[in-house]
Assembly symmetry: C2
Homo-oligomer: 729 residues x 2
């Protein structure tokens, strides 16, 4: 049975090999003219410079936290001694995934621009394969880290009770999830602030005030804007999804170990299942990537079809193979558990489709939004906020149904507290299913920014406008195909966060174990709680919705989602204002920029974004770590669960609202630019540009950071559970 | 002991008498010139016409719901037979309070304008006393309705168990709270859509496109705008606070009856306490209103001081007298319970101050927001959203602390489930304390729109600009003094909603009582549950945060807050667009309007707002009723509690965010208009106008409706608990 485990590291290595292969293939292509190379180099250097700065700050935070965990582990004995190390590797691998993805993207943009001038198809191939490098790196590194720790901890953790050992091993592994989440939050927030400061600043002065097009080389903030796409949309997204991917697998493993506590064989199966589904997903992703191929001279429809075929094929196959995996592992309820996974996958598809409906300008909502711009920027803002809020309804109801179904399938439609563990395992494994084909869905997501950057490169190198048009087509294509992937990402975040709530209770029990080991009068009582089920712990701390401590926590958790968004949004506003001032200054002071006679000072804008992002990312990110810790210390486990549930409820809905408002504003602008309602440079167009600019931090900074925030708060609580128990036992 | 009760109806009658007195005093004043009278008549007729239309629609909804309750009560026996009638009177009195307040306001505006032309002080007196008419009407009608039902139900409800009888009486009375909430939601949503459609429409064409000032008689939407202030800010607010006031008292009475179940004497005391605090609050409010008096020729500072003296005096006195009331009633923990009330009052004051800090342009946040308008409307929108989200932090933490303190004081700092009822009673009585001086705090709130309308009247009647300046001063004064009242309203809404969660559980128990009466195999079991404590019901339905049904509910509840806001926001957007089209049409087609040679067609704009409000208010309001009912039917009590907790967490924070963003945008505009950053008609001013326009539905439609939504969902659930139990027992 356990021999099956070796499929996991094997899949990890295969994944990384293919990533390497695609990277080599891409590098063989020509980067085009000298100007193209120069601009690509500018962007690459800017991006690398930023990432170095960011990693410096993050390293300091990691060292402090690791030391803190070491004190808890070695000083107070309320923490597993492996935690500091697991935490560090999670952060390291998450950062590495983002770094490799970004490095690839910055090499690929000029090459894509160059290839696109030959044909749309060649461009698609380079951009998509480069996106696949990131997709496969993320899943490869994720599975590698999981495999390594699984092997190490199984060897070194010493526990006479084999069943208990599995619980300790899997919950310890969750700490590397916290490392990944911490790094991901910094990457998303920092990258998000960087990219939107540059984007908003460039748009306000360039498009609105000076009427020059996007990515125009005369705009001093252009390079910063393109660097931003890489550090935010590529490196940030890479770290983000690394965190989601590992988080869902680790949470499921931990739940598997606890749900079947006492039955070693079942535990092993339940732990292996998520790893195996993920490993098979890697193989299917690679197959899917190869399925994306078109004949030379293929039209847009064929390209779209080809991309969809790749992602859909992988998703359908993983659904089918899941049945086989559970059957092979010998689960009695193999087909029911597979139905749990299936309901998760379906929910992801529905969320993706609804997102597309509300944000694509092929449908009425965004078209109506564009029409509301005819009465000015105020009505387009009100309309976009309204649209985004309304668009949360179906996704939330879908996820609620998916929660109930994936739980019910796993328990045979029983809501008895005795089967709680199995039910939560069903929810969690559904999230794993949704993310298992991340290798390919991330490729469809990551190639968008690459195409976008290729367009920027083409514009700045003053290539034939046809090249820019083609890269725009590729970018738009990416937005459509990325919908399913985004649906999976959003849905799985909610399900994983839910599973982490249960893992928190497990960690509380381990905390009681530590307390029992210390001896004392109550040692027997603590030992009992350490062996108790989730319902007993829930009763012990009165984690019901009638407990005022829980309710106070729900308020604080809901507030955290808003506070965090407000802080990141204001950070973008402040940084963008600085950028505007600088760009205006350059236009005013450096003669000949607007006439194209003199190059603007790109470096200064890059410096402003870098500094602002670095400076502004610290407070909101540290807050996300401190609040759950402080809640644990002051209010105890009941307060923590309240904070997590409140944060999850409000944060999840807020994230969808922000993403969809932003997306709809973006596409309403594009709709007008395509010639509707007066077309480019009409009053209506100006109003949609205001909408798009407001939407920038909504959809690319605050919104995506929220998904990480929710999980990071859970992860922090889990890691700090030992201390919380010590203070509230 | 029970003789003390008669203080309550006496206070109600005194309150209504003083309201009548102030109304007569106001009516004696002169309405000014013929033009002033004519304009006042236009506004009054428009407002009355709208209210008639609104009440027609609401009546239909009430009849349907009352019939539905009658079927449940008389057909299925899962509802108390008094419920349909109690429900109807709640709606009737709530509507009446709004109607009287609005009638008074529309009579007062021209009189205030006329008085202001004599002196600031005379204007303040008329406006403030007219506001007091509404304040005293709301509390008078509220206490009257409570007294009447208390007397009737005590006589007619037949229950051999005296203690059980009190539980049934108080929970039945909650249904009249549901009537009040339903009517309040329609009033707030309908009025909010009306006023903001007119306001936004008038501003976009008038201020932004044609550069004519606010309330200019040449603007066809001016009358509609002024009508809107009355139906939204006066009638809507009156119904809203009637609902809050009664809701807090009723919830506390119900909790008092259940917390001390089995001890008839203690129950009676606990039921009397909130009524007595409210009755004393009426007397203090009247005293406070008389304390607001200044010498003729008083300056702004003196007026401000005088207003603050009135409200502060009442608040301090109620805090002191509360100790006496609990002592007099013979509560063993009289001073601890009084500390619960005190912590609520303090929380209200803090929330008010924080709101003022974030939204007044005397402080940095709003000044900085105005500065961000220098880089255009996009940055001012981003900045306002960020500011609003950040501003939620302190109020939410404050309310969380107030929850824990008011609970802990009431239980002697024990969190044992056995004392849950007493603790929740502490939370609930704190809300009563916050609203007890509503008579005067509502007066400071309601006189703002009266002053505003007086300014509109002055402008349209082309009085000396000095008159308008003075009414603006009065309006601004009102915004400052209203802060404390708003803090109390927001804080008490959260505490009351929390208390209603517990009342829901009580109603579930009564539902089991109905089931037991029907007999059958499980009758004994049901009878047991009907006599159980809150913790047993919580356990029976597994209302813990680990139950997936509860968690699915939390998601849906959080979503409801956003969906509801999105729907109302879009309604405003749509209606405003229609208004813009009509105003543009009039300027284009009716020659001589802009030159002031011809009167525009005001009636058409009034008709557009009336129709839009009436049409658009139905769906979101009905949704607020249907979702908790459907949740109860499908998911049972665990799902309902999840929905209520999620809605409360997300809704409360969202409401603060929307109110503060809107307030800050409004004042950022005023800050620029005062001559900062380029002053009126600068680019910066235009950007702040966009901000203000976006903020209109935030702060006056969606935001204030949320507070009612939260409580209405709880009230609906409480009333429907019988059916829910029948389906999920």
């Amino acid at each position: 049975m356990t021999a099956l485990f070796y499929i996991v590291p094997a899949a990890a290595i295969v994944s990384l090999l293919f990533a390497w292969l695609f990277f080599r293939q891409m590098m063989k292509e020509s980067e085009g003219t000298a100007t193209m190379k120069e601009i690509a180099r500018y962007v690459r250097e800017g991006a690398m410079a930023y990432l170095r700065q960011q990693y410096k700050v993050v390293t300091v935070v990691f060292v402090i936290l690791a030391l803190f965990f070491a004190v808890l582990a070695y000083g107070f004995g309320v923490q597993n001694p492996w935690v500091p190390f697991a935490f560090l590797t999670g952060g390291f691998f998450s950062g590495l995934a983002g770094f490799i993805g970004m490095k690839t993207a910055t090499f690929a943009s000029a090459r894509t621009a160059n290839a696109v001038s030959r044909s749309l198809n060649s461009g698609l191939k380079i951009a998509f394969r480069s996106g696949a490098v990131m997709g496969l790196t993320v899943v490869g590194l994720g599975l590698l880290d999981i495999s390594i720790w699984w092997i190490i901890l199984n060897i070194f953790i010493d526990n006479p009770d084999a069943s208990q050992k599995l619980v300790v091993v899997t919950t310890t592994m969750l700490t590397f999830g916290m490392g990944a989440s911490t790094q991901a939050l910094f990457a998303r927030v920092g990258g998000g602030i960087y990219t939107k400061a540059a984007d908003v600043g460039a748009d306000i002065v360039g498009k609105v005030e000076q009427d020059i097009p996007e990515d125009d080389p005369r705009n001093p903030a252009t390079i910063a804007d393109n660097v931003g796409d890489n550090v935010g949309d590529v490196a940030g997204m890479g770290a983000d999804l690394y965190e989601s991917y590992c988080g869902s697998i680790l949470a499921t493993m931990a739940l598997g170990a606890s749900a079947f506590f006492g039955d070693y064989a079942m535990q092993t199966k339940a732990i292996l299942a998520p790893m195996l589904i993920a490993a098979v997903g890697v193989v299917l992703s690679i197959a899917g990537i190869y399925a994306v191929r078109t004949k030379n001279g293929a039209g847009l429809q064929q390209l779209l079809k080809s991309l969809s075929t790749g992602t859909n094929l992988s998703a359908v196959l993983i659904a089918v193979i899941t049945f086989g995996i559970f059957r092979l592992l010998g689960f009695g309820n193999w087909w029911q558990l597979s139905l749990s996974v299936l309901s998760g996958l379906l929910a992801g598809v529905i969320i993706g489709k609804v997102t597309e409906y509300y944000t694509s300008h092929s449908y009425r909502p965004t078209q109506k939004l564009a029409e509301s711009a005819e009465t000015g920027s105020a009505t387009v803002i009100i309309g976009g906020v309204g649209l985004g809020m309304i668009s949360t309804a179906i996704p939330v109801v879908t996820i609620a149904i998916a929660i109930l179904l994936s739980y019910s399938f796993a328990t045979g439609f029983s809501f008895s507290p005795d089967l709680l563990g199995q039910g939560l395992y069903g929810i969690s494994i559904a999230a794993v299913g949704m993310l298992s084909t991340l290798g390919i869905t991330l490729a469809t997501d990551a190639y968008g920014p690459i195409a976008d950057n290729a367009g920027g490169n083409a514009q700045m190198s003053e290539l034939d406008p046809m090249v820019r048009q083609r890269t725009d087509v590729l970018d738009a294509l990416g937005n459509t195909t990325a919908a399913t992937g985004k649906g999976f990402a959003i849905g799985s975040a909610a399900l994983t966060a839910l599973a982490l709530l249960a893992s928190y209770i497990e960690e509380i029990k381990i905390g009681f174990g530590h307390m029992a080991e210390k001896g004392g009068e109550l040692a027997v009582h603590y030992a009992e709680l350490a062996r108790a089920g989730i319902p007993q712990i829930v009763e012990h701390y009165n984690i019901t919705l009638m407990n005022p401590v829980v309710l106070a926590g729900v308020f604080i958790g809901s507030m955290m989602a808003f506070l965090f968004c407000g802080l990141t949004m204001n950070a973008v506003g402040r940084a963008a204002s600085k950028m505007v001032v600088e760009v205006r200054r350059q236009f005013r002071e450096i003669a000949g920029i607007l006439e194209g006679k003199k190059r603007p000072d790109y470096t200064n804008c890059v410096r402003i974004s870098t500094k602002a992002a670095q400076h502004e990312m610290i407070f909101p990110s540290v807050l996300a770590i401190i609040v759950p810790v402080a809640t644990g210390i002051i209010l105890g486990p009941a307060g923590v669960i309240g904070v997590l549930a409140g944060g999850l409820g409000a944060g999840f809905v807020l994230a969808i609202f922000l993403a969809n408002s932003g997306g709809a504003w973006d596409n309403a602008k594009k709709y007008v630019e395509e010639g509707h309602l007066g077309g480019k440079n009409s009053e209506c167009h100006k109003a949609t540009i205001v909408g798009d600019t407001v939407g920038d931090p909504f959809k690319d900074t605050s919104g995506p950071s929220l998904n990480i925030l929710i999980k990071l708060m859970s992860m922090v609580s889990i890691v700090m559970a030992g201390l919380t128990v010590m203070l509230h036992c």
